[in-house]
């Protein structure tokens, strides 16, 4: 089972040219509780190939959202950038197995 199978939506977007932010909308409170318990920050850091201390995590019970922010692996629009808006980064987390 993947995260995408459980939650309402996973989305990502640039937060300025140097950061990308990924929001996991869990929907039901029990999904949020399960994910906050089982989703390990280190695993998400490995998925995006960043050091765990570079990955900011916010568990937001009121919204039943888990939010991750990380420095963009490449700066937006630089020669090596492949995704100007950063919206495809979400696919990795959505497809991550639990």
């Amino acid at each position: 089972m993947t995260i995408g199978d459980l939650v309402l939506k996973v989305r990502s977007k640039n937060a300025g040219p140097f950061w990308v932010t990924i929001d996991v909308f869990c929907g039901r409170p029990e999904v949020f509780e399960r994910l906050t318990r089982t989703l390990r920050t280190e695993d998400v850091a490995r998925l995006y190939q960043v050091a765990p201390d570079q990955l900011k995590r916010f568990d937001i019970p009121d919204l039943r959202v888990i939010k991750f922010s990380l420095p963009r692996p490449v700066v937006q629009g630089s020669a090596a950038d492949r995704d100007m808006h950063g919206a495809q980064y979400a696919a990795l987390l959505e497809e991550m197995s639990l």
């Binding site: 977007k13 640039n14 937060a15 300025g16 040219p17 140097f18 950061w19 932010t21 929001d23 909308f25 998925l47 995006y48 190939q49 900011k56 916010f58 937001i60 009121d62 919204l63 959202v65 939010k67 922010s69 420095p71 692996p73 700066v75 937006q76 629009g77 630089s78 020669a79 492949r82 995704d83 100007m84 808006h85 495809q88 980064y89 696919a91 990795l92 497809e95």
Partner: protein, 453 residues
């Protein structure tokens, strides 16, 4: 004093519901505010000092807003005019405004707020230890930047409004500054002003009908109330509070010139099925800093696109590209005398990992693979020449020596496309200001309708 702000949409050029706008004007707002840009589509706009939206789309929407302003009799403010908010795009927006004023027979006072920064000013501030990097920060190198802008806050917008302008065309501002300015100067709650501005800055994105555009934000002494104006659009505590997540690396704090907004203690209450009341947001004053943005030319590009439909090549696309790349580097060195450090040549496999590159962890068997070759060189002539040199090999190069020459699909002729300059974002810094206006300037113009001779 309560302040009613009408926000027609998240950005000028994206469209809005004209009926909802009419409802907004009928609701007697105190000001109409719209954003004109963002860094979201990349460094080109800032680097080149050009709008990314078409002049025609901008003019058609601005016309509707200028008519709305005339009817409402209140100021109309655009922030980050022309996508990037350089002086050049402020003047571009002013030209459109002057043209429309003549067409509509409007007499106007227009204030232009300029945000472009001379490199010398930033260098001087840096030498005085008044430029601070934000993580992750590129090295501070100012000499080759094509444009630098500072993000204005509420104070500069207030100064522009104090000129008595009917229309304020602002260069780069924070997303929130135009909306927060008037409520703050009228003494509404600072936490509510900034929070309401953040919720409102993308228009109806904080509602259940994001594309409808138009919203109304009412500010007062204790917070704000937000209401979408399109038929059927609703704001709910969830749709409003979730907007703090959007394009924000920290959902609880938002840094602005002169402090930050903290929404940790904010409460969101449904007043009815379409309006949400928000209270409890806190403004924490700090040092007066403005964020800087800058861009430079990082090379010139030529691209080439080939499609591998042959099943054997589609299945072995990476091996093909690896072999081809090694061969081409040798050819470029032999024929053009260029070393590897003089240029970049990269092939991205569309259908394999073009969007995510090294992060991609899914594999599959694509029907076909697009091979996007990107050449980055020191001049356009050099990039173009490399493109022409590699063109026949991208078309015909074999996977092994002992097979017939293949021929792949080129979608157009010529197969190469010159892309022009590649710009890169070069600043992620803030600059300290003692006087908020010291890095900005305002120019006021009176537009008079011409009397026919």
């Amino acid at each position: 004093m309560p302040t009613r702000v009408l926000v027609p949409s998240g950005v000028l050029g994206l469209g809005f519901d004209r009926e909802a706008l009419a409802r907004g004007v009928a609701a007697r707002p105190d000001i109409i505010c719209i954003d004109g840009g963002s860094t979201d589509s990349g460094p080109f706009s800032l680097g080149a000092g050009q709008s990314k939206y078409s002049r025609a789309a901008t003019k058609s929407e601005w016309r509707a807003l200028m008519l709305a302003r005339a009817e409402a009799g209140v100021p109309l403010v655009i922030g980050t005019a022309g996508t990037c908010g350089t002086d050049s795009t402020v003047d571009w927006m002013y030209d459109i405004t002057a043209e429309l004023a003549r067409e509509l027979g409007q007499e106007l006072r227009v204030a232009r707020l300029y945000s472009s920064q001379p490199a010398a000013r930033v260098a001087e501030a840096a030498a005085a230890d008044r430029v601070t990097p934000l993580p992750p920060s590129p090295e501070l190198r100012l000499e080759d930047l094509t444009n630098i802008v500072a993000l204005a806050g509420a104070e500069q917008i207030q100064a522009a409004l104090e000129t008595g302008a009917d229309i304020v065309i602002a260069g780069r501002t924070t997303d929130t500054a135009t909306i927060a300015a008037l409520p703050l100067s009228r003494g509404d709650a600072a936490g509510g002003a900034w929070h309401g501005a953040k919720i409102g800055e993308c228009g109806a994105l904080c509602s259940t009908n994001p594309t409808s555009g138009v919203i109304l934000v009412d500010f007062d002494q204790t917070g704000f109330t937000v209401e979408p104006l399109a038929t059927g659009a609703r704001c709910t505590p969830h749709s409003v509070s979730a907007h703090m997540l959007y394009e924000n690396s920290d959902p609880f704090r938002l840094f602005e010139p002169g402090g930050y907004l903290d929404v940790t203690g904010a409460t969101y209450t449904a007043l009815d099925d379409r309006r949400v009341r928000v209270e409890g947001s806190v403004w924490v004053p700090g040092r007066y800093t403005v964020k800087l943005e800058g861009a430079r030319i990082a090379g010139y590009q030529t691209t080439i696109l080939a499609i591998l439909r042959d099943a054997h090549y589609a299945a072995n696309a990476q091996a093909w590209v690896d072999r081809l790349t090694g061969f081409l580097h040798r050819e470029i060195e032999t024929r053009m005398g260029l070393a590897r450090a003089d240029y970049m040549l990269e092939f991205r496999l569309i259908g394999v990992d073009a969007a995510l590159g090294a992060l991609e962890n899914r594999t599959g068997s694509p029907v076909e693979v697009g091979v996007l070759g990107i050449i980055t060189a020191r001049t356009q002539a050099e990039a173009s020449e490399i493109g022409k040199l590699i063109n026949p090999f991208v078309l015909h190069y074999p996977l092994t020596d002992d097979e017939d020459l293949p021929t792949f699909a080129f979608p157009y002729s010529p197969a190469t496309t010159d892309r022009g300059a590649l710009y890169e974002f070069a600043l992620n810094h803030v600059m300290v200001l003692d006087d908020p206006m010291s890095a900005f300037r305002i120019e006021v113009s009176e537009i008079r309708t011409e009397v026919p001779a």
